[in-house]
Subunit: 106 residues, 2 copies
């Protein structure tokens, strides 16, 4: 894990992009939870929702890791998942953007 | 843990009462899940639902234990929680009903 240096301006860009992706994802989970709950007819769907929500919480906890040492990897994943675009990360130094592009899986 | 003897007729009574209580409780959880989900406005309520549902699942798993060796204790708890009445258990032998009454907490 390498030591990235983050200027105050970069930290601001990173925070905004991170929060945007996280809030978007939480909003989507919230919406889908309401839809799934409204559709529940029986016990297997009830526990299906319970399992699904637990998986979502663990995924969010694991994915949204705001340590500066791992943040470029986090952003690469979010770009790969189309939760962020490279444009949302404008303002990060070229080296970080290059790393994020490199690590992004399409 | 004592060895209870269960006649086929008693097993039928027990099964019916057990399923009635379980289905009633699942129905209530299902209803409350829909209500809670519909009321969610933000992330803390979303994860609040996730936690609550997990607790309900574990509680149901733990409470509804259909081993004949523990069934009178299970029924005593369900009577104490007003999920069953002693009348629902009519057909069990007097010794079991007496034990269930004795163990019921009001």
């Amino acid at each position: 894990m390498r030591e990235w240096k983050w200027s105050p301006a970069e930290k601001a860009v990173a925070r905004r992009a991170f929060d945007m992706a996280l809030n978007g994802e939480l909003e989507a989970i919230l919406r889908e939870t309401k839809e799934r709950a409204a559709r529940i007819r029986g016990t297997s769907e009830l526990w299906g929702l319970e399992r699904w929500l637990g998986e979502r919480r663990r995924e969010i906890d694991q994915k949204y890791d705001y340590r500066y040492s791992v943040l470029p990897t986090v952003f690469a994943r979010l770009v790969g998942e189309r939760r962020l675009s490279i444009d949302d990360l404008k303002g990060l130094e070229p080296e970080k953007l290059a790393a994020i592009r490199l690590w992004t899986e399409h």
